[in-house]
């Protein structure tokens, strides 16, 4: 009798082992293929920045990106928070420039493909984005004329070779900006229209150079991409392209029952949209309402796509032109971040609310209501094994 039990057990084990092989439906295979990096289209030209693909502009942009001189007190550059060896982010819950900000630093891989910038999309181009921290008192904390003076003194020749002649600097105050201190604002208002336009143009070109550099920062191939390629071509996954059973379960949950792929879609694992997912506010930070408050900011930005400093024509301004301005779902809505490399860069969410992917998965399973507005996510029953599998899958996007 014992032998009979033994034999039956062996049979069952043999059948189960057969089921453990990656076995995806055609629909699942199609979704997996749509997430693979090889489906990422070539980077489109940015007609709003005619220097976007000019190598000399990218080279100057790279210099400026790492230059501590690009700040009020010479201690902060773009790279202070966007660290080159840390996926261009800083591992902190909230970025720290000259002061502590209220948002998590975003990584930069593939950033030139975004239609909107910052967690709330308060800028509509990469070059307009790059200008914003320069004048934010908590980030680089400088002012517009000081940057223009610095460019002339330090990089004048390089600048003029790329962008043409610098404006006349006679009578330009050392510190002036429409966004600065009262004294800086007064100095800005005392300048002539032509002087302000000349300085704005230099300032815009700083952003265009930095953007040209940032266009070269693209996502790298991961274990997931090798797995997906083998699955698509029917090849037997080899070496690290083979997924463990747990990783396969995690992938199936990601594109199935857990609904992650609804928003984290396409080869960058983002729909480039804004969603309220009930992420709680951080206690000691100022009120943060996300996308709803960013709409007015991007409309008022003189460097937006409709502004005077855009190159090319307004046909590139579709996102701004057809922007949703006042829907209730914009309240506490934040950008869907790419998940590529995410496992290697805790903490998570727009103000670093969660310190691990386990906490992130637990948040989405629980789907607590939002403190303001309505969360789009629904509670989900996930076993401990399933939660661990989702995290295991996410790690394949960082290896």
């Amino acid at each position: 009798m014992r032998r009979l039990v033994c034999l039956m057990a062996l049979t069952v084990v043999a059948i189960l082992a057969g089921c453990g092989k990656p076995d995806f439906s055609d629909a699942e295979k199609k979704t997996i293929a749509s997430l693979a990096l090889n489906t990422l289209p070539p980077l489109k030209p940015d007609t709003t920045n005619r220097f976007a693909d000019v190598p000399a502009a990218a080279a100057l942009g790279s210099t400026l990106f790492f230059d501590l001189g690009m700040s009020r007190d010479g201690t902060v550059s773009c790279s202070t928070c966007h660290k080159i060896d840390r996926q261009f982010q800083d591992d902190l819950p909230q970025a720290v420039g000259v002061g502590r900000t209220n948002r998590r630093t975003m990584p930069l891989a593939g950033v030139a493909r975004d239609p909107w910038f910052f967690w709330d999309g308060r800028r509509d181009s990469l070059w307009a984005q790059a200008l914003t921290p320069l004048e934010n008192p908590l980030e680089q904390a400088g002012n517009r004329t000081a940057y223009a003076h610095y460019i002339k003194a330090r990089f004048g020749e390089r600048y003029e070779r790329i962008f043409g002649p610098l404006p006349d600097f006679s009578g330009i105050p050392p510190n002036a900006s429409p966004l600065g201190t009262d004294a800086e604002k007064a100095a800005w208002n005392a300048m002539s229209e032509a002087q302000r336009d000349g300085i704005n143009r230099v300032f815009a070109n700083i952003g265009k150079a930095i953007a040209a550099f940032e266009r070269s920062i693209e996502p790298a191939q991961t274990r997931f991409d090798r797995f997906a390629l083998d699955l698509a071509t029917g090849a037997e996954p080899k070496d690290d392209a083979a997924f463990s059973r747990e990783e396969i379960l995690g992938l199936k949950l990601f594109i199935g029952k857990a609904n992650c792929v609804t928003c984290h879609n396409g080869p960058r694992f983002t729909d480039n949209g804004f969603h309220n997912t009930g992420v709680p506010p951080v206690e000691d930070l100022p009120p943060d309402r996300g996308r709803i408050d960013a709409v007015a900011q991007v409309e008022a930005d003189p460097f937006n796509c409709f502004g005077a400093y855009r190159d090319g024509d307004t046909s590139a301004c579709g996102e701004l032109r057809f922007m949703v301005k006042d829907a209730p779902e914009l309240v506490r809505a934040y950008k869907t971040p790419s998940l590529r490399g995410a496992a290697a860069r805790p903490p998570y969410m727009h103000a670093g609310q969660f310190s691990s992917l386990d906490e992130v998965v637990a948040h989405y399973a629980k789907a607590a209501p939002s403190v303001e507005g309505t969360s789009e996510i629904h509670p989900l029953q996930l076993s401990d094994r399933e939660r661990a599998a989702l995290v295991a899958f996410l790690k394949t996007l960082s290896e």
Partner: protein, 149 residues
Amino acid sequence: MASLWRYLLAGLGLAALLVGVLAVVYLTAPQSAQPVGPDVSRTKSTENGLFVASFEPERGVIQQGELESWLLTLKTKAGAPVEGAAIAISGGMPQHNHGLPTSPQATDYLGDGRYRIEGVKFTMSGWWQFHFAISATAGSDTVLFNVVL
């Protein structure tokens, strides 16, 4: 010794039965349960039957994640093009509690009852709805189109 063979035979028999049952289950199970989806017709009568409306991508295909132009074609029941219509557009994803990610607008009249609807963007797969409120000399009416990606 004989009993061992009997057990072995019985074991094999049971295993064969199990394989048979599993085979039947796998072979007869539907490949994927397709729930009945919403009406995705691209041409339909407006709510009160005032117009016949068609809604389709200008380039013929839908590209997820891109701003696209669609065409809304409006005809009377008799087939005459509806000109000078005012068109208001809303919509969203009924299963996700959110509206459209963009605010599409009628930006151009192309003649023959065709209106260009710019700023259409599908950010995810699933069931989308576009609701048009149409106002023309013949009167006002509404129409709802479902698009499933």
